[in-house]
């Protein structure tokens, strides 16, 4: 029997993709159907609801390991993963009891919700004392949620395709949307799905690749469609059987967060799927991502929010027309149909994402340089003949982002990372100079960033932080202000929520400015001057 814990162990034991696929194939050809469905759910970021408070998990694990709680917490900060920490500190079981199946474990974990804390505790202690390391790790992951273990959805769909003989893109489509692993069978989900199941599914999104070559390599300038690259929420608006749904790229159903788009959708014909970007749009102007954030993560959107932070759908692609999947039509044909729909609906909430006509690559290049003026992040370059593919496929869809805005900032706080950066200080807070009321210069936090350095650089900065810690606040350390980094970001806006008065979009480290001292770092005023630049 090759169960889910064995699968996780096998995947963990290799850095090679083909061996991971082999392990997945082994699992998908030998596990029970119920376990297969759960595995698909877990690798697609669907997880059982949390039924035990994690604070309780920590207390129980510390007790079982016979260590004080603070020591467990310290260990957790260093290990960087709660499930792994518990699996490590709880004593290894001597008995070789075979763990229950994945679906059995998930059922047990779900049922925990109905138990009082005393019984929850005795259940957990009992499981912990009988599971081996990997089973314990998987069990804890199921309880704590989040199953990122080096298996992408793509790897999983590939393995299922290999085992079943079904086309990989078809599988990717089948596992889209909102399905409940407790109710659906492997047969319904993968082997013989019924037509009705697709009514509620979005299509797998086609994603562009960053442009990594000269424009001339793309061939003739006239074979491409040029559009703005919008900075909003990528979404599919679906109308089928008089129902309207909005699915985000992260496969979340976000219909309720955008009631005005649902109203607009009611004017569409049944059997229509539009792909586009939800953008903040007030007073006939596209706003910043920051404005959009006020609309996110809410169960219900109030009247005031709706009035103050209105949105539109910038439509650029049509995937379904009159109930027919048209992803295999040429891009220009799909756009023609889309444009007709937008014109006939005549709703201010639905805008067509216009394309540009350029006569040569020079003009393309020039337009790219002016993208920020159009409130866009750059240019999208899409082949006129391109089909709508599944996932990130190179060749037909390119994104050409404008150069980011940059500023030199001082590293002031650091935290240990997670996953492959566990036990290394890789999550940083950066500050800029500000002159306070008394006329003194002080450093004010403006952004956090944790990507952009090489592993080697991270090691060096990590060593610096360990040697130059000023104070510890739980997992966070304040650091002697000494290192200067060039921070890049996509957008910038005023913000009352931030101490600096400014919010930046997608900040990351561009480079370590070894040549600069903290006196060379920029000021908050420098940063603010970029807002209208």
């Amino acid at each position: 029997m090759f169960d889910f814990a064995d699968l996780v162990e096998q995947i963990d034991k290799t850095n090679k993709t083909n061996l991971k696929v082999k392990a997945l194939e082994k699992f998908f050809s030998s596990a029970t159907d119920q376990d297969k469905v759960w595995a698909i759910a877990l690798f697609s970021s669907k997880r059982p609801k949390r039924s035990v408070k994690t604070s309780n998990l920590r207390v129980y694990a510390a007790q079982m390991a016979n260590i004080p709680l603070w020591l467990f917490e310290e260990s957790y900060h260093i290990v960087g993963d709660l499930a792994e920490t518990i699996a490590l500190v709880v004593p290894e079981s001597k008995q070789g009891v075979k763990p229950p199946s994945l679906s059995q474990l998930i059922k047990e974990i779900k049922d925990l919700k109905n138990l009082d804390e005393i019984h929850q505790k005795s259940y957990l202690l009992n499981r912990w004392s009988h599971l081996n390391y990997y089973s314990k790790f998987v069990f804890n992951k199921l309880i704590t949620g989040g199953f990122r273990i080096g298996v992408s959805q793509k790897l999983m769909t590939k393995s299922i395709a290999n085992v079943t003989g079904i086309d990989q893109d078809t599988i990717a489509y089948q596992i889209m949307g909102d399905w409940n692993p407790e109710e659906v069978t492997y047969n319904q989900l993968i082997l013989s799905p019924s037509k009705e199941d697709f009514i509620y599914k979005p299509y797998p999104f086609y994603l562009a690749n960053p442009l990594d070559q000269g424009l001339e390599k793309l061939g003739s300038c006239s074979e491409w469609v040029y559009e703005n690259k919008w900075d909003g929420i990528r979404a599919q608006l679906i109308k089928r059987n008089d129902e309207i749904m909005i699915w985000s790229r992260g496969e979340e159903l976000i219909s309720n967060q955008f009631p005005e788009l649902l109203v607009m959708g009611s004017f569409l014909n049944n059997g229509t799927v539009i792909d586009g970007e939800i953008l903040p749009f007030k007073n006939c102007k596209i706003g910043s991502f920051n404005d959009l954030q006020k609309r996110l993560g809410r169960k219900n959107v109030g009247k005031t929010t709706l009035e103050n932070n209105p949105v539109i759908l910038k439509a650029y692609d049509l995937l379904e027309l009159n109930g027919i999947d048209i992803r295999n039509k040429k891009y220009i044909e799909r756009r023609k149909s889309l444009e007709k729909i937008v014109l006939s609906v005549k709703n201010e909430k639905l805008q067509f994402s216009n394309s540009y006509v350029f006569n040569n690559w020079e003009e393309v290049s020039k337009a790219h340089g002016q993208a920020r003026v159009n409130k866009s992040e750059g240019l999208m370059i899409k082949n006129i003949n391109a089909f709508y593919k599944v996932g990130r496929k190179k060749g037909d869809w390119w994104k050409w982002k404008v150069d980011p805005l940059t500023i030199d900032a001082v590293l002031t706080y650091a935290m240990r990372g997670h996953g492959r950066r566990a036990n290394l200080f890789t999550d940083y807070t950066f500050a800029l100079w500000k002159t306070n009321d008394k006329g003194n210069k002080e450093l004010v936090t403006f952004a956090k960033a944790y990507s952009g350095l090489t592993d080697k650089e991270f090691k060096k900065v990590d060593a610096f932080i360990k040697k130059n810690t000023l104070e510890r606040f739980g997992p966070v350390r304040s650091v002697e202000p000494e290192l200067v980094f060039e921070i890049a970001f996509e957008g910038i806006a005023n913000s009352s929520r931030h101490k600096s008065g400014v919010a930046v979009r997608f900040p990351r480290i561009l480079r370590w400015r070894i040549d600069k001292t903290i006196n060379d770092a920029n000021t908050i005023e420098d940063l603010k001057s970029l807002i209208h630049a």
């Binding site: 963990d12 034991k13 290799t14 850095n15 090679k16 390991a65 260590i67 004080p68 603070w70 020591l71 467990f72 310290e74 260990s75 260093i78 290990v79 960087g80 993963d81 792994e84 920490t85 490590l88 500190v89 004593p91 290894e92 080096g150 990372g417 997670h418 996953g419 492959r420 950066r421 566990a422 036990n423 290394l424 592993d455 090691k459 990590d462 060593a463 360990k466 040697k467």
Partner: protein, 334 residues
């Protein structure tokens, strides 16, 4: 207040009465070396003293330095202070240093582990008033399996590579871990090939200690020679062009850090075997009990955390900084 028998200054761990350093990190007149790893055995001192098993290695690395040897348990007196070396079990020749003056006994552990690895002389706990301990792995997340179990895992890994016509590559520190593997792996599976840095040390150690035969990888070594066999190389070779000859290979690392999934993924290696030459959590606590020391000085590793824990347990515990820690946390001799 009485002056402590040993203190930490900018040069190293120092006995002011005897005017002797231990594992000094800056050039000094007289130093006692706990073991021959580069960060503990530095170049530039006037007079060295260490265990006979460390001397050939120190000389191999530092050249013809002025060096004196003392066997384990052999007492010697400097300025009225009595010293003796005792096995630490970390690598071949690694020693603890016992220091006694007017009834006050201190022990400096150097780096140590408790399990007999079959090549270093096993650790002996020494009773003392003050114990200076490393805590590289001073966290309850670190609990080693028995060596036999891990060696079997590595043997299985090797057999698997062999049956797939691949070369099994193990990254291991060239002094210590490399010989520990060579002495314990099952040579019926195949031959062990070594990187020059490893083989140079093997040759030095073979002059006074039996070590199974290994094969140095040279320009003449052919790809076919390596397939199905095992290669031991320093971690710095990972990803270098030197590795080309080993294709198709599977990489692995042997270290206490392999406990963490993140550490394995970060190094982009296929397999991580948790095999350390340092004490784990339970042995650290057991050792402190065994020494019966009331005062514990915590150095390199998770010293702040471990020291806080000891204080809660009623020990008079404090921390001292050494330059060893960053290197060890960052890299490989663990």
């Amino acid at each position: 207040m009485k002056k402590p028998l040993l203190e930490f200054n900018q040069n190293g761990i120092y006995c002011p009465i005897a005017k002797v350093y231990m594992d000094a990190w800056r050039p000094v007149d007289k130093v006692i070396i706990s073991h021959a790893h580069a960060d503990h055995s530095k170049y530039g001192h006037q007079n060295y003293l260490t265990h006979p098993n460390s001397i050939p290695i120190v000389k191999h690395r530092l050249g013809n330095v002025n060096i004196e040897s003392k066997g384990w348990g052999e007492k010697f007196t400097i300025n009225g202070v009595q010293f003796s070396l005792h096995p630490a079990g970390h690598v071949i020749g690694s020693s603890q240093v016992r220091v006694e003056y007017k009834g006050d006994v201190w022990v400096y552990s150097g780096d140590y582990k408790r399990e007999n690895d079959g090549i270093s002389t096993p650790f002996e706990p020494i009773k003392c008033n003050t114990f200076i301990t490393e805590c590289t792995f001073g966290l309850p997340a670190f609990n080693w399996k028995k060596q036999e179990v891990v060696i079997n895992e590595i043997n299985d890994f090797w057999e698997e590579c062999k049956s797939n016509n691949q070369t099994a590559v193990i990254f291991a520190y060239s002094l210590g871990k490399a010989q520990r593997l060579i002495a314990n792996l099952n040579l019926e599976i195949g031959k062990i090939y070594t990187h020059g840095a490893v083989e140079n040390l093997n040759e030095v150690i073979r002059t006074y200690k039996n070590l199974p035969k290994t094969y140095r990888i040279t320009k003449e070594t052919k790809k076919e020679d390596l397939i199905g066999n095992l290669v031991i190389a320093p971690p710095s070779t990972h990803g270098s062009s030197w590795m080309k000859k080993m294709v198709p290979y599977v990489t692995s690392s042997t270290s206490g850090w392999m406990t963490f999934r993140g550490a394995r993924r970060r190094r982009a290696i296929d397999r991580g075997f948790v095999l350390s030459d340092h004490v784990d959590w339970k042995d650290l606590i057991q050792t402190i009990k065994d020494t019966e020391a009331k005062n514990i000085v915590c150095t390199h590793g998770y010293k702040d955390i471990f020291s806080k824990y000891l204080k809660e347990k009623g020990y008079n515990s404090f921390i001292e900084n050494t330059p060893f820690e960053e290197q060890e946390i960052l890299e490989n001799n663990v």
